[in-house]
Amino acid sequence: MDNSLFPTVPVFLDRSSLDQSWGFRLQGGIDYRLPLSIKKVSPNTPSHNKLYAGDGVTAIDGQDASSMKHEDAENLLRNALQIQLAVRRGQFAAVRPSRPPVKFGASSQPHVNSALQNTTTPNNYRRF
């Protein structure tokens, strides 16, 4: 993945009490084998206009987030009144189709599934 396309942006968040929600949904973690990222942001919260859905989180309070468990990241965020994040803006933003897909011979041979043609089968035993 070419990370240079997504510049790292520092984001500073703070809130008045631990009861106040940050206002974003965190996704991923090394235990889910997904990068930590911002799933969505609620309006009128400390995160509003600071974080955006699709931001990839690379650091939390100076700690590298690339090998962080979801729970560890979650705890760091839950127990802080102020937090310094580093995010790659828009790294995981969704892209949707803009026009109907082209059809590829859908009905020509419905019963012969060429996509299943198994060429990965090792066949070196045939030598004898």
Binding site: M1, G23, H70, Q117, T119
Partner: protein, 913 residues
């Protein structure tokens, strides 16, 4: 200079000189009367510079007093003291050494005027025209008075100094220049600046009276010191009063030249008087010096004569001495000394003698010319005495040289003979060195035949060499004899050496003969031994070769894989054993040769040398033979063991082969069947799955056969059997085929199941599924069942994604790649492609949807109870949820409440913060 003399004729009332033809220049030649330079500037100067006036007043006063003191009077104030004209007249009398008209008595003004006029008239009578009026002097006009005094000074103190027809001023200047010429740091060009640093005054004093000051210690840097020094010395020793003020001379940019001239003129007069006295003295000195020179020449003659005679007296005994130290070196040194005498000692003495004669003649001539009595040298130092002594010296010299050369020749001859003797002895001794040792050596007792023959030939050569040296020994004896006759001083040493050489010579002859006999005997015996050695060598080498081969065969490792091979080996071994009797006989024969050679050596006292033809030691031979004999029964036993082992191996091979030949083809058939199932999906996915599962069952049933084959293979491996020509299958091949069959089967089943699941879950119809497959297959150009990023990008565009060929397109594509390939493998599988495509279709399936679902179940409560879960969900799912859900802690919580919101988020790896 021109600054002083310019044309300005108007309004003057000062001193005017009689001729005013000047226009600023300073003519080279003046008539005697014209020494006075026009001084129109007199007044102007005075007006312009009172400093000069002050200087002039001081200097002129001092000058006047230096003359007036001779008549016991002086002036204090120059413009007042000359007012009545009396002291003026007195001054003129003193300096002119003439009598003036008697002055008028009376103190009236007209008396004064009359007296002053008398003085002025006197000055005028000396050829000077004065333009000053007597009234002005009487009135005490300073400027006029100073002008008058300057006229007097110029006329009486300076005009006399005329050098080479120059003007008075030029004359004084020239005098100064000549006198100061030797002084490098003095350059007199004028009378105002050139004297400023005082060095010119000091130089003038030093030039005439060097005793008065140390000029070398003076520097330009101390003008005041220099000026004061000169003024002090002039006052003290030259009787010149201080007329100048050192500081004024030094400080004024240009000193007034009139005052400097006045003062310098005093120096001139002071020195000119001393000069006269000096001239007289020098005349006297001249006369005396003639006498002194003559006396010196006489003394010099006496000294030279004594010196020469003394030298001759000392040298003569040395030249008459005929004692020799008998050495060439000593005599050569003496000759060298003599040559040095001839070359560098005698010639100066010869010129000394000539000088004596010349000096004597010169002296007599001088005495005669200056009317003085002739010179008679003291007794024995007459010219004739010297000439006689010189003749004696040369006579002794001649005899000495002759004797020296004779002596030198004799010593050279002796030296030559002695050297020749030493040289010949050295060569001979060098030749004979070690010869006796060689002749007495018993080297031939441990020689091979060839070496012995070589020694014999070498000895023959030596014999002729010895004969050739007879001559030299005789020559040595003859030279020794001649040295005896010539009385060589180290003859004892020569005789001793000669005797030693002769004795040694006799001994050499004797020893040579003895060695000849010994060598002949030895040669005969060694020939016999050599024959034995040769015989041994001929036999031993092939025998050892055979032994090595036999031994190698006997311990040869078995690389045998068949029974036939072992049978062949046993047969060969039996044949080998049959030849052992012959080998034993040959062995004994070889050993006998060695024993015989050894005995011959012992009997003749020769050293038993090693066999030159063979490097095989008899001990080695014996050891090898014994080794071979011991190995034979060992080999018998090994062959027997190997025979039994081969029989067993063959049984194992057959056992494995029979089984493998069944299992192998079965596996091949299964693979073919699976291949067919993989290539084509016939009927529904479920039917296909059933077929695969049936096949899996069959395959697993076959497992025991593989295990049995493994058991046989283990036996084979333990016996180190590597080849089996009874079957084309090896265990590795069977094993790989088996593992590939089972894993592939399992994977196929899993893939089919996955596809069935996806169809169900995403609610995609069979038709759409086929479309995805077709699409994916279309872009999977490499048929690897996965797309690289390039292929995937093309695929997405085909599927309707607007991914442009620019930076924005790159960014969009990277986002999608991050979704479908989160682990960054760089590839997209059909499953993740399918997942991505269908996820886009069912966007609602996310945390919010799940949360919403729970919320419905919970009756719009923010939490859910165990009862609700168990009531609404299958028991299995409900319990699964309960195991993972956390208690609800938010507002309105009741006991046993669970937080479904966090649970939902966690399922998707998300959390609301």
């Amino acid at each position: 200079m021109s600054a002083y003399y310019y044309q300005d004729a108007d309004g003057h009332n000062g001193v005017q000189y009689q001729q005013q033809q000047y226009n600023g220049g300073y003519p080279q030649q003046y008539p005697v009367d014209d020494y006075m330079v026009p001084e129109e500037e007199w007044e102007r100067e005075a007006v312009l510079d009172p400093a000069w006036e002050r200087q002039q007043k001081k200097t002129f006063t001092a000058w006047c007093n230096s003359h007036l003191r001779k008549v016991g009077t002086s002036i204090e104030n120059i413009e007042e003291d000359f007012q009545n004209g009396l002291k003026l007249m007195l001054l003129l009398e003193v300096i002119s050494n003439e009598q003036l008209i008697k002055p008028d008595r009376g103190r009236m003004r007209f008396h004064k005027i009359a007296n002053v006029n008398k003085a002025l008239d006197f000055i005028t009578s000396k050829g000077v025209k004065l333009m000053v009026g007597a009234e002005e002097i009487v009135d005490g006009n300073l400027k006029m008075t100073l002008g008058m005094i300057w006229t007097i000074i110029l006329r009486f103190a300076i005009q006399d100094i005329s050098v080479e027809e120059m003007s008075a001023k030029e004359g004084l200047l020239l005098w100064c220049q000549r006198k100061t010429a030797p002084y490098k740091n003095v350059n007199v060009q004028n009378f105002h600046i050139s004297f400023k640093d005082g060095l010119a005054f000091c130089a003038l004093i030093h030039r005439h009276r060097p005793d008065l000051l140390d000029y070398s210690k003076l520097t330009k840097d101390d003008p005041l010191g220099n000026l004061n020094l000169a003024f002090d010395i002039a006052e003290k020793h030259l009787d010149i009063p201080k007329m100048l003020d050192a500081e004024e001379i030094n400080n004024s940019i240009k000193a007034d030249e009139k005052v400097v001239m006045t003062y310098v003129s005093s120096y001139y007069h002071a020195f000119s008087t001393t000069q006269k006295a000096e001239q007289a003295a020098s005349r006297i000195c001249k006369v005396l010096s003639v006498n002194q020179e003559n006396e010196q020449m006489m003394a010099e003659y006496e000294r030279l004569a004594s010196d020469l005679l003394e030298w001759i007296r000392k040298k003569k005994p040395w030249l008459e001495n005929r004692a020799t130290d008998n050495t060439l070196h000593g005599t050569q040194a003496k000759l060298g000394e003599f040559r040095d005498y001839c070359r560098s000692q005698k010639p100066p003495r010869l010129s000394q003698k000539a000088k004596l004669e010349t000096d004597f003649n010169t002296l007599q001539t001088r005495l005669r010319l200056s009317n003085r009595p002739a010179f008679t040298p003291t007794e024995g130092k007459l010219i004739v005495n010297i000439v006689d002594a010189w003749k004696d010296l040369e006579l002794a010299e001649k005899g000495f040289e002759d004797w020296l050369l004779r002596e030198l020749r004799r010593l050279e001859r002796l030296d030559h003979l002695a050297k020749k003797f030493q040289h010949k002895c050295n060569i001979h001794e060098e030749w004979s060195y070690g010869k006796i040792d060689l002749l007495t050596s018993s080297d031939f007792k441990r020689c091979s035949l060839n070496d012995l023959r070589a020694l014999s030939r070498k000895h023959l050569a030596f014999e002729s060499d010895l004969a050739a040296h007879q001559d030299r020994v005789e020559q040595i004896a003859a030279i020794a004899q001649e040295l005896n006759v010539l009385g060589y001083d180290q003859i004892v040493m020569v005789n001793q050496r000669c005797q030693r050489i002769c004795n040694e010579w006799d001994q050499l002859g004797d020893l040579t003969h003895k060695r000849r006999i010994a060598l002949t005997d030895a040669e005969r015996i060694v020939e016999r031994i050599d024959t034995l050695f040769l015989e041994y060598a001929k036999k031993a080498s092939p025998y050892v070769n055979w032994l090595d081969g036999a031994r190698e065969d006997l311990v040869d490792m078995f690389f045998i894989h068949t029974l036939d091979e072992i049978r062949g080996l046993i047969e060969a071994h039996h044949q080998f054993k049959a030849t052992l009797g012959e080998a034993d006989a040959e062995y004994k024969n070889i050993i006998r040769l060695v024993t015989e050679a050894r005995q011959t050596c012992q009997e003749n006292g020769l050293e038993f040398v090693s066999n030159p033809y063979s490097n095989i030691k008899p001990e080695e031979l014996s050891a090898k033979w014994n080794d071979v004999q011991a190995l034979v029964p060992q080999r018998d036993q090994d062959l027997e063991t190997e025979f039994i082992k081969q029989q067993q191996n063959e049984r194992f091979r057959v056992q494995f082969a029979q089984k493998a030949n069944v299992v192998g083809p079965w596996l091949e058939r299964q693979h073919e069947q699976l291949q067919q199932l993989t290539v084509q999906v016939v009927g529904t996915l479920e039917q296909h799955q059933k077929k695969l599962e049936n096949m899996e069952h069959t395959v697993l049933q076959y497992r025991p056969h593989i295990d049995e084959l493994e058991k046989y293979n283990q036996q084979i491996q333990e016996c180190m059997i590597f080849e089996n020509r009874h079957t084309p299958y090896t265990m590795e091949v069977i094993r790989v085929a088996w593992e590939q069959l089972t894993t592939h089967l399992t994977r196929q089943i899993a893939e089919i199941k996955n596809q069935i699941y996806t169809l169900e879950k995403k609610g995609i119809g069979e038709e759409q599924m086929n479309e995805f497959r077709a699409t994916f297959a279309h872009f999977d150009k490499s048929r690897t069942r996965r797309l690289d990023s390039k292929e995937f990008r093309a695929c997405l565009i085909a599927c309707g994604y607007n991914i442009r060929e620019d930076r924005q397109g790159d960014v969009d594509f990277q986002r999608i790649m991050a979704n479908v390939d989160p682990t960054q493998t760089g590839f997209v599988t059909f499953e993740s492609f399918l997942d991505f495509m269908t996820r886009e279709c069912s966007e609602e399936d996310n945390v919010d949807q799940l949360t919403l679902a729970f919320k419905t179940l919970a009756g719009d409560q923010p939490f859910i109870t165990a009862e609700a879960l168990k009531r609404e969900l299958p028991i299995e799912q409900a319990e699964w949820c309960l195991r993972r859900m956390k208690p609800y802690v938010g507002p309105g919580a009741i006991p046993g409440a669970y937080d479904y919101k966090i649970f939902s988020a966690t399922l998707y790896g998300e959390s609301d913060l």
